[in-house]
Structures are given as C-alpha cells and as structure tokens.
C-alpha cells in the first residue's frame, strides 16, 4: 500500500487518540478538528468545494451511521459543521468518536483521490500541526 495512504490514516488516528488535546475535549474536539481542516482547505479549494466534499463524505458514511444528518452539499461549511455537532452530541461518546473517525477518513480519502495522497497528507499536517495555528505573518523578503 502507498506509504502516504498509511500516513494519512495515521494522522487521523493520532489526532483522535485518547490523550490528544482534541479527542480529550469530546464533541468540541471532534468539531475542532473539522474547523482547523476547514480553515486550511477553504482558502485553497473554496468554501463550495469544501462543503461539496464534506457532504459527499457524509453521504458515504451514512450507510453505517444512519443517524448522521442527511446533508445538502449546497449548504455552507459552517452550517454543515453545526449539524454535525448536534448529531454527534446526541449519541454515545464512543459511537460519536467512531462515526467522526469514519467521516474524517472518508473525507480525506475523497480529497486524496482528487489531489493525490502526498498533497492531502501535507494539507492535513499543516491544518492540524501546532505551527499552522501560529500563522505565517513573518516577513522574510
């Protein structure tokens, strides 16, 4: 299997591991991951592209988690994430974590089928690593 493919899954597993800051903070943690991802991807592929991918991922994981919201890809990313938060908080924490992991995996798999594993891993890394949170405001000319 492609090592980048493993790396992508590894990233998601690491972020969801108990002990990780995001996983530890429960439902907010799940959404925090999505918000960071959205903040990184939205300027790159546009809000529309991001929402379309998210809605498609949601549709795919719904077969296993029918209680997840039936999304409309025309909605904004903010509203999609609000719906997701509501649904995740309405079920058992273990089940919510499992569903969110499946959703992240499917979403990133879709992204990598479009732009390649290497770039996807790079984007996940920059979205979730601490450095990306610090911005890039320093002028280096």
């Amino acid at each position: 299997m492609d090592k980048n493919h493993d790396k992508r899954q590894q990233f998601i597993s690491n972020m969801l591991e108990p002990g990780n800051e995001c996983a530890a903070s429960g439902d907010n943690g799940h959404i925090q991951l999505w918000r960071r991802l959205a903040a990184r991807l939205s300027p790159l592929i546009g809000d529309t592209g991001l929402a379309a991918l998210h809605a498609r991922a949601m549709r795919l994981v719904q077969a296993d988690y029918p209680w997840l919201p039936a999304e409309q890809s025309m909605q904004s990313m903010d509203s999609l994430l609000d719906h997701l938060t509501n649904r995740l908080s309405s079920v058992d924490a273990v089940l919510a974590a499992e569903a969110n992991a499946a959703l992240l995996d499917t979403f990133s798999k879709l992204l990598s089928s479009l732009i390649g594993n290497a770039l996807t891993v790079r984007l996940l890394d920059s979205a979730w690593s601490e450095e990306s949170q610090q911005g890039n405001a320093k002028e280096q000319k």
Binding site: S42, P43, I45, G46, L53, L119, R122, A137, Q140
Partner: protein, 489 residues
Amino acid sequence: MSDKVSLGILKTSVPGLDILLGGGLSEFSFNLIAGAPGSGKTTLAHQIMFSLATPQRRALFFTVLGEPPLKMLRYQQQYSFYELDKVGSAIRYVNLGEDLRSGNFAGVLERIMREVEDFSPSMVFVDSFRSVVQTAKDGNEGIADLQHFIQELGTRMTSWEATTFLIGEYMHAEAEANPIMTVADGLVYLSQHEEENSVVRKIRVIKMRGQAHLAGSHVFRITHDGLRIYPRVLPFIPEETPDGGFVDRSPVRISTGTPQLDEMLNGGLPRGHAMLVVGPSGAGKTIFGTNFLAEGVRQGEKSVAIFFEKTTSRLRNAKLSEMVNAGEVCIVESRLLDLTVEELVDDLIEAVRRTNAKRVLIDSLSEFGLYLAPEFRTDIRGAVFRVLATLAKLGVSVVVTIGLEDRFTDLRFSQADISFLSDAIVAMRYVETEGRLARLISVVKVRGSAHSTDLREFVITERGIEIGERPVEFEGLLSGHPSIRDRTR
C-alpha cells in the same frame, strides 16, 4: 557610473522563455498572460511559479471563477515541475471565488491585500483575471471601477515588491485586454493554430517594458515537463565575433568514406561544410551517407543522423545499426507528423552537444516536408536554411541527401533552390550506355576550393560506392543522347 535604476531580472527557467523575454522577467513587473482556453496559460504560470518560488521568495496563487481549484491541483500535479514540497512553504493557493461573488472590487482588493500581508509573497498570480473583469458592472461606472481596481492592484503589488501575473482568457489580447493592457508592464500571448488537422502552439511577447524582448511568434510544445519554447534564433556560439575574424584559407579536409570522391574533392570535404548529395531513387545516397558516418567512426568521431525516409529503410541498414548500437551514431527521430523546424533544430543541437558529434547525416530532405506541420511546408527553403545554418554554427560537417527524379535533359540539383544553401554539391544520376543503366557521379560545387569536374561512373559493391578512376568515355550524357567520345579530336 550610471545612477539609472537597474531592473532585477528573474530567470524563469521555462525552456526558451527567457530568450523571448530578453533575459528573464523584470522584478516587480505587472504582467498579463493571455490566450484562449486550452492555450497553456495556467501551465505556464505554474511552471514560472514552481521554478522561482522558494521559502524566501514565496508565491501566492489566487484562483477565481475559472478552473475549479481542486481540478487545477489535480491536473497541474501531473507535470514534472510540480514540487509538492513547495506547496505550503513557498507556494500558497487562495480561492477568491466567494469574495468575487459580491462583485465588489474594493472587497476583492482588500482580500488580496490581506493575503499578501499575511504571506509576504514576492510573486502574485491571479487565475483567471478574466472572471474578475467580467464581474464589472455594465456602463461607464463599471468600467471606471475596473480601471481603478487594476491600477490600484498594479500599484499596490509593485509597492509590495511583488512580481504579478494576471492570467486571462483573451482571444485577441491586444484588442480585448484593455484596460489591463495599458497598465501591464508585460504581455505574453499564447495561441493555437490549426491547419489540416495539425495544431501548432505559439507564444508571443507583445510587450515587456524595459527589456529588449524578442518580437514575433515562436512555437512551443507542452510535454510532461510543461512548456518548451523554441525561439526562432540561431544558436549562440560563445567564441563568435561580429567582425570578420580569422579565415582559415586551408581548412582541414575530412574523408567522406568514399576514397575516390575525396580525390575528386581535392582531398576530402572541408571540415564544417554541408554537402548536398543529389540523386534519383536507388542511386546510392543512403549508402554514401552511411559510409560518411562509418568513416567518422574510423576517425574516432561521433555522429548524429536524422532520417526522414520511412523507418524500414533505416532498420534494414545493418551497417548503420551496428554503429548506433555501439553508441557511435545517435539517431534523431520523430514520430510526430506536425514537426516545426525549431523543434527539429533543437533536437539536433541537443544531440550534437550531448555526443560532441563532428558529423551529421540528414537523409533525405525530399521527405522532410512530410514531417512538417502544414504551415512550414510552404517554406522548405527557409526550413533547410535554419537547419543548415544551425549546423554550420555548431561547426559539424554535414551530408544532406536529396532525392530528385531524373529528367535526363534537365540538370537540377534540388527543389526550391536548396542547393544554393549548401557548401558542396555531389550529383548522382543514371544514364543508358551500351544497353545498360549506369550510375554517374560528379562534383558540382565546393565552396572556396578547386575540385574535379569529371563525370565518373560508379558501382555499388559490398564495400560501398566505388568510383572509376577516369571520366566516362561518353559525351552528351546529360543531353540524353550519349555517344562515344572521339579521341582524335
């Protein structure tokens, strides 16, 4: 010492582009890359961006309402220049689609500036700028807004010391691209020309302020490595001098591989000369050419050969095969039937420089036209001039064969006056003598040198071409009515 401002030049590393630009891109310039859809604008912009971007010289690429960013990332990755490591650290993509939807130029400008201040880029790309322009409201007010926006963008980017590229879909850049045309420092226009099912891509630098750019249209191809431009110029030779320079009055002669012909040439072909070998089908031109290469091998010289005859004639040439397999001869070959002269010349230069070849065989010019894109077929003379002039500048000795139908009373050496472009001409032809078809050879011309004027008979043997020691015993051979020479006269 002059205290004029000196323009920093950015070498784009896009093959051939820097020659057209007059050395490279002027730093902090405001440029428009224009062309119809599919002409290669986004690819050119990406190639320039990936070549120049580093973590210290960052690039910001704004996508607007043209190609969806997901697709652009997907397809541009297929090119060899797309270095993933640069994405994020040296290159940032930003989608402006949402900002533009409001149609408010001030909002778009504000967003661009926010991103520029955040990422501190040295290069800014906006793709496609046409979609920005199209959001301008109709009427004078809309146009005034747009003009103000472009001027403002140009000024801000220059003050930010960013070299800017607007990428726009314009079929006729000069007429359509106003008011950008007025503000832009540089305008590069890409186009595709279709004729008889062949498409030739062309690039033209319409404007490049402050630089002596190369005018006119130049052809390019898009390959896995991106754009490759073929400027219409002869190769630069460092030791060249514009004055008369040293003239070698007794140039080194090289053997053609046919000893008796060397004798007729007064000691061989002067090194660096291009010799045209003219003759009808089956006269022995390819055999002569193969011997020319084989002689090079004997002298320890590498050669380059280009064949326009059908591939089988080359594949069945065992002697040539051996030389190719031994790495002594490099074959330049094209499977494309829409070649441009510049591509051919470029391939030849590359092969000659890579192998340090001293000899080149072109076999044969009669079929050359069949490989060329239609628009180049009409000017075969110009095409041959560019090929031979390039090879002359490289200092290699050349044998060019050309097939001509035998018209017995008509002494012709080439089509389209190509023979005037060569330094030496050897003519082969058939004649009927005493009930058999005999082959004759003669040296018609050697520039700056005396040579034999004999008409001699030759035969093709296993050793190659064997020429008789003396002129033929007949007169009037070229008139089609030969008679035995009267020795008593």
